[in-house]
Every structure is written in C-alpha cells, then in structure tokens.
Symmetry: C2
C-alpha cells in the first residue's frame, strides 16, 4: 500500500541520518546496519542527490568520513552536514567566544575560533568528557554571565551504541538549562536553519527531498517542519512506542534503509 | 519597619535550612557562617522549637550531625529532617526496590531497603558519583522499565561550596526526566509532604512556624505553599536577582541567620 501511494515520485534528493541508519556506533568503531552500504550505492547509482544530515559531534567530519569509509560506506566530507561547522558560522556571525564542552575529537572543528575569555558555552555530545567537574565548570561560566548563552549541538535524548543506549547531548543541555534558568540555542537537528543548510547543500527544495532517520523528533519531526517528507527506520534507537508518538507522525515507517531505498526507487 | 511589623509574634517554632544558613559546605568540611552558631544557641535558649529541614543527601544524618557539631553547632540527629529517611518510608509503602544513584556516604541510610532487581531509581546529590557511566546506567534502567519511576531527593538547581557553585540533584533529575520523557517524584524540599513531616517533628502548626533558608524556590516557596511564613537569608547561594523572582516573594529578607533571630526574638 505504501509503495503504491506514489509519494516518492517527485523526489530528487535524500537526506540521511547516519547513526542508527547507516550503522550503530560504539567504542569498537560500530557496526554497519545490514544492507545499508548497498542501499547507499543504489541511491548514488540512481542519480538521486544525497546528503548525510547528522548530529554527530564526537569527531570532525574528516574523521567521521574516514570511519564510515572503513565500514564500507562510499561517502565524502562534502556530503556531510554536521552541527560543528554550523556552530562555527553562528559564533563568527555573533562575535561569540565559546567555552567548549565537547568530545576531544571534535575540538579541531573549532580551531579557527577565538576561545579566550569565553562569553558562551558550546555543548556537544562530550561522552566521557561529561564529568561532574566539567559540568560544574560549564555551569559556573554560564551562571557568571550577565546573559548566559548556551549553544547546544543537538538536543537528542539518547542514542544506541553497540554496548547499549547512551544519554545524548539533549539530556545535559536540559541539566544546564534548568540550573541556569535559561533556554539553549540548538544547532543541528531539529533546528530549521540546520535542515535548510543541508537542503542548500543537497541543492533540492524541501518538497522534492525525503529525510530518513531513526529519531522520531529530531529527524522526522524536524524535517517535516521544513516541508520535507520524512521516513522513520525501525533500526538504531527506534522503539515500538515511537509509533504512538503524540506529536510526530512519519510519512512512512520502513524496516531499514534498504527497504526505504527499494520503495523509493520503485516509484521513480 | 520589618522588625516593627510584628509578623513573628505568634511564632512557636523555626525550621532552618542548613547549607547556606548555618554553614557553607565544601570538600574541606565547610565553614560556619558568621554568627550562626550563636544564633542557634539563642533560639534554643528562647524556648522556641527548632528543626533542621535540609535537602542534604551527601551523608547520613548521623555523619551530618557529627560534622555540624564539629563546626560548633549544638544539634542532634532527632532535630534533622532529611530526604533519605523520607524516601525509605515511601519505598516501603509502595514496595519499590531502588537502584541508588547517590553519594557513597548516603548509602547506609538505605541499609534496610531491598535493592535487588530494581524497579525504580533514587537520585540524590551524588557529587563525584555523577559520572557519565553512572548516569547512563540509571538511564538504561529507567528506559527499560514499563513505567519508569524516578525518585529525586530534592530538585535544587545548585548550591554553594567553599570552592564555588555546584550543580545540585535537580539538574541531573532534569537530564533523566528529559531522556526518559517522565516526571520525577521529588522527596525533600519543596515537596509539601516533606515540609509537613518536618512540621510534625517540630510539633507546631504551619501558621506558628517560620522557615529560614537561602533557596528562594525550595525553602521559601515550598514553605509558603504549606502555609508557613518564610525568610530568605542573603548568605549561601542567595543572589541579588532572587529579590526579583517572578513567582516567590519571601515574607522578609534578612542578611543572615543572626539578623533573623534578632528580629524574631525582639517580637516575642
């Protein structure tokens, strides 16, 4: 029924989430999700445009692409839209000097940014850097600012790694928001501006693009807010309760990326 | 003007917050706030009833009282109302078996509680135990429950120690609430039930009791919700912006506990 409805007929480009769609991450480097590398090749062979739209903030795009290639995915740095470069543009526009609470491996993305005498905090998925001491330090800097500015690279609740679910940056964002009685500015999915920059790189208007992700709120809800269609895969962090989400309803559910690509290519 | 208004004339008992009122805590054991030990002696000599009403969850009441006595405060365990014993009563009532994410030194308060095969998480001010690994563990237990139960020993934003401000349990509570899309049950201030148990131990009805604390929300707001008068001291975590709080207005501000006691005893 879904394949027959023809909703993908006008599609010219795909935005793909990465973790939970192409692979499941983990300290061991992660493992590809069955069929996803082949699905990626079929997208490229079909002539559809492709952009990876990720909230990954545990590595520079260069290292991230290296890891994906080692897992068998044919991708390049130019095909990756990620929060850190978007945050750097925002910092420069507004003359902000960040204190970084991010993963060590992300720090090189901020090499060009003045970090002296910080007037904001940039929060990423810092993983092992989310220590009690580091959280207190970020909190003290914020609470000491006349007008605290907290920039969060995403607001995900959690994600799945090979050894289990992990709290994502959104949980730590909420902790700092509450402690300082402020609202963070989110860079990354589901921010509209972030999807718009991914669409610009894709070179396709929203009504001709489909987002495919495992996160009902950040991927599906965010893309739909921008006028795109969005599919939720039943891989990665997908949970059956997502199918009863009170606010977000995907245009379709698919078992995995391979099935999504089957359906889309059939309709073209 | 405040001293002349006579609002303390009917008072028969005082509830005192401890950290930020009697002393400022810290890894070094903390330091007494000037005049507070003498003020405590004057309260006792006056015949006013006294109960310490604290959200302290970094030590058993026995160890906490030992620390306070070493700092010069004449207090006993029976004079301390604290969240952990209140949580134990709640756990027993409801047949809950907790996973504890609390300070090591608080664990003995839960000695009598069955902790096998946990069906809830109890969160305290775990301080150095707020590691990335421990937060992920608590999160995974919660998200794996059919109906996650998170019991938080307080919901404070932050507190002041001798080496600076620290994130309090409320910030970590918010992180887990967000990640699991749940609401924690708060035991401790500002929960009405907690103030009521402190008043029961004080043996005085709310309209004859005054709460004195440094936390505009947990101490002042919580006590007023129970029908008590409440004073905010300008010590501890007090910040000038508290005086413009949008929701809570203390019955009076006082510079410190010593001034509060001066004013109250003048009116008796």
């Amino acid at each position: 029924a879904m394949a027959g409805s023809g909703w993908a007929r006008a599609v010219r480009g795909l935005l793909l989430d990465v973790s939970g769609v192409l692979y499941d991450g983990g300290a061991d480097g992660g493992v590809p999700i069955a069929g996803s590398a082949e699905a990626l090749r079929r997208i490229k062979a079909s002539g559809l445009k492709l952009q990876l739209c990720t909230n990954e903030t545990q590595a520079t795009r260069e290292d991230f692409v290296r890891k994906l290639r080692a897992l068998g995915f044919d991708v390049s740095v130019a095909e990756v839209t990620a929060p850190a470069p978007a945050a750097c543009r925002l910092l420069k526009e507004r003359g902000l000097r960040p204190h970084l609470l991010v993963h060590n491996d992300l720090v090189p993305e901020f090499a060009e940014i003045d970090k002296t005498n910080p007037n904001c905090v940039v929060l990423g998925d810092a993983a092992e850097n989310f220590t009690y001491a580091n959280l207190n330090e970020a909190f003290r800097l914020l609470i000491g600012m006349e007008k605290p500015v907290l920039i969060s690279l995403g607001k995900g609740r959690y994600y799945k790694e090979t050894d289990g679910l992990k709290l994502d940056v959104g949980a730590y964002m909420k902790a700092l928001e509450y402690a300082c009685d402020i609202q963070a500015e989110v860079v990354g999915k589901p921010a509209k501006r972030f999807f718009e920059s991914a669409l610009a790189e894709l070179g396709v208007p929203p009504e001709q693009a489909i987002m495919i992700g495992d996160d009902i709120v950040s991927d599906v809800g965010g893309a739909q807010q921008c006028g795109m269609r969005a599919l939720q895969v039943r891989t990665g962090k997908f949970r059956p309760s997502d199918e009863n989400h009170p606010l977000v309803k995907p245009d379709a559910y698919v078992n995995n990326l391979a099935e999504a690509v089957d359906i889309i290519l059939q309709q073209l």
